[in-house]
Symmetry: C2
Subunit: 269 residues, 2 copies
């Protein structure tokens, strides 16, 4: 029985990590949980995000995963250390992978970070970047307009361009040469963000970089799958399964089967 990688998110944003794991590690089996009934986590108190994350981890542990990936910036900022201390398998978040990639690529030593208000206000990226390299200069900006654009599928339009341009004032023309897309939704706006920022600024996708680190850690632990592709992945969500399935299939560009959630997630407003 092939042990899966368990990937969790507040909703559908973590599917960008799923897509990259499928591409970079096609032999790995995935079990995904999207807490769509309680998304978004951003505006919730930390205690609630921590409790929700623990509940989902408890649920996913029954699948005997070899690793847990918290594919949500808010939950990573709040719950990563707690979950790490509670399970005896590796736990990977989305913040350090992006921070490490930016440190690897920046030549100027100035790194930009964009994310939801929750993520930016948590200061988690600043802390991670300075933990690794204390002399790094970080310019952060919350971009609350981006997630609604992505969730409406509005990736490329005049409205999107205007929203991106106005959101990135202060970053464009600064000394940054790397910009971390600190929200799992933002890779869908990468073309527009890149157009606004110009070719000198490298965009860092948390999703790509997290998949890369999943590979590194599984390899270090001798736990990379040797199975032949294609594994059958499992997807589950706490909210409307039809809507989740429709979005997931569109984003992953393939048919998926939903696994019914046996444990009923409490519907807390």
């Amino acid at each position: 029985m092939q042990q899966p990688i368990a990937i969790l998110d507040s909703g559908v944003g973590g599917l960008t990590v799923v897509k990259e794991v499928m591409r970079q590690l096609p032999r790995e089996k995935i079990i995904y949980f999207g807490d769509t009934a309680r998304a978004p986590y951003g505006p919730r108190p930390s205690e609630e995000v921590l409790r929700f994350t623990r509940e989902i981890v408890d649920y996913l542990i029954q699948y005997d995963p070899k690793m847990i990936v918290i594919a949500c910036n808010t939950a990573t900022a709040v719950a990563l250390q707690d979950i790490r201390s509670k399970v005896n398998i590796p736990v990977v978040g989305v913040i350090y992978p992006g921070a490490r990639a930016a440190i690897g690529r920046t030549q100027t030593g100035y790194v930009g970070v964009i994310g939801t208000e929750g993520t930016i206000n948590s200061g988690a990226y600043d802390a991670a970047l300075k933990r690794l390299r204390p002399d790094i200069e970080v310019l952060s900006k919350a971009c609350p307009k981006f997630v609604p654009l992505v969730e409406r599928g509005n990736f490329r339009s005049a409205e999107t361009y205007d929203a991106v341009e106005s959101s990135l004032i202060g970053l464009k023309g600064s000394s940054i040469d790397c910009l971390i897309l600190g929200c799992t939704h933002y890779p869908y706006l990468a073309d527009t963000i890149s157009e606004v920022m110009g070719p000198e600024v490298t965009l860092i996708s948390s999703a790509d970089e997290t998949a890369r680190e999943i590979s590194t850690i599984l390899h270090d632990q001798g736990k990379l799958s040797r199975n032949e592709p294609v594994p059958i992945h499992h997807f589950c969500c706490s909210g409307d399964p039809r809507m989740f399935k429709s979005i997931a299939q569109q984003w992953l560009n393939k048919e998926i089967e939903l696994t019914p959630v046996v444990w009923q997630v409490p519907k807390i407003g």
Copy 2:
């Protein structure tokens, strides 16, 4: 007492990894061993490379390192699995980091690899790339002219351009969109290689990517240093210390102190 990262190489090429670790992880202390008396490893039989690598690891273990980095493609190809089975700390080579970075970045699925004849003939990069993603297409090319150019400090000249252009025939104009610099010397020729290959081809430096994976694994294990910079690094070599020190200071662009090698490495032709 801060535990160091032990980095070993057949000679001076591994200093490109040292430079990147200093940049990406400035809080980490390094102990470096360059086996300059017995370099290069490329033309030696595998049994000899394995024995030399074991000897150096035995020597470095006395410094109580928290990780061993085999910063030499030949030694990684031959000895990584053996060393991993013998020590109870993480052992990182330079091949998988480059392979993972290429898989993360390629859009075409075609990846180029250049290295010494020993590395290319070992097929180690092909194996690593296909182990991770079986459908990847790999184009490899040995570039025996490159190391002598680098060791003479001839990074940018008409001679260098001609050597690079003639060596990369077969790769230029192919479907590859990533080119792995599969030799620790090659980053010094990156500007010329990039000029020949054109802007559509992303160069992957093993040194950068290995430093990144060192960060990932130390972080996963809760072993990142919390010390304030700047740690005092130790450098030792088995050959002429003055020559080593001169090259190391030039490459690292800083003053270094050489640590005398107490254990006399056998001078085997």
